[in-house]
Symmetry: C2
Subunit: 212 residues, 2 copies
């Protein structure tokens, strides 16, 4: 099962305008994620202690459970557009020990050898499209689910192809006014995905979609 989790603004953006290496979420984009940082479950994922437990906790826990592999777009892996810099390769935003701890498949137009980091995270670069990346991730997940980690463009492709089986949208009651829209080019068809659960907090509304 391919499961998307993503935070979206009230005006439909998953990243703000003017994304760059220095500002990977775009202007204001960090506001989409402020609900998650205080949570104990998120802090633990990043090796920190303490934190809150609230209604969002079970949503985050559920999104992390039973995931055996991740697919993501080049823009989510980040760094720079175009061919990889062989002398000074971009190795992701997450440092030496990324919080995935399983195989990650990165959609890109530019081939590159796999990258093995600490804690069980490997990045494999897939140049022949979303279906191949998903096939590889499914095999690597060994019966567990595959997480679709974004960004907007990769997500739009998987949604438009009807390949997303579950979608947890964390709707943040703020406006970004520009940037990357989650549903641009997806059309009018949710491909059988229906709203199956809503978890509401003052900071965020979690909307879970699945096939019934």
């Amino acid at each position: 099962m391919l499961r998307l989790k993503i935070s979206m603004s009230l005006d439909g953006f998953v990243a703000g305008p003017d994304q760059s290496v220095d500002d990977p979420l775009g202007i204001g984009g960090m506001r989409l994620h402020e609900w998650v940082f205080p949570l104990a479950v998120w802090r633990a994922m990043h090796g920190e202690q303490g934190g809150e437990v609230n209604e969002s906790t079970r949503v985050v826990e559920e999104s992390l459970a039973n995931i055996g592999a991740t697919v993501m777009g080049r823009n989510m892996f980040g760094g720079h557009p175009g061919p990889w810099d062989a002398r000074k390769p971009w190795n992701g935003w997450w440092g030496r020990n990324p919080p995935f701890h399983h195989p990650v498949f990165v959609l890109t137009h530019h081939s590159r050898k796999p990258l093995e980091l600490e804690g069980g995270t490997t990045f494999t670069f897939v140049t022949d499209g979303i279906e191949t990346a998903l096939d590889q991730a499914r095999r690597a997940a060994r019966g567990k689910d595959v997480s679709l980690a974004g960004g907007a463009n990769a997500t739009q492709q998987y949604l438009a192809a009807g390949l997303v089986d579950e979608m947890e949208i964390s709707l943040v009651p703020t406006l970004l006014g520009g940037g990357e829209r989650l549903f641009d080019g997806v059309g009018t068809d949710l491909r059988g995905l229906e709203l199956v659960r809503t978890v509401a907090t003052p900071q965020v509304t979690h909307l879970k979609f699945a096939r019934r």
Copy 2:
């Protein structure tokens, strides 16, 4: 207090593409309102008996309570763009006895005499902008609140001007893929409006924003 209530799709549209006299909500736009039609409270408003009571009932009841006047855009009043047809004037979508039963102020660039219909609904056409229309509505409301009924363009103007005091967005878990976006041109500032209540049903998520 100026109170907006509006239904919006998951991709941010409050009307579908290709709005016309025959299809005033645009393609697919009716799907934004399907949650309200079965409700007893909505049927009673339109002179019909029976219907459902569910979690949305109190949201609709609240949105109707203590309203003394309504402002709306020309596109919401509808009919056709440009000057009014003096021989065959457009009198709104709602028939002889519209469901407002109070003074309604219509934003337009084309002057026209007030229109008095049955049941206490009068339409006054205001040609000198959103603030004048709101002033007139406030006076007509005699201490009660003013409802902002749409459409998208009028709503965007009031939101951008910071004149909306309360906003009930009924988010429908469907995609329209095009049409009129609620927040186009509004920018990044909700002008002090914060999420204060969420009411969730399988058909719709009601997001209430107010100033704290």
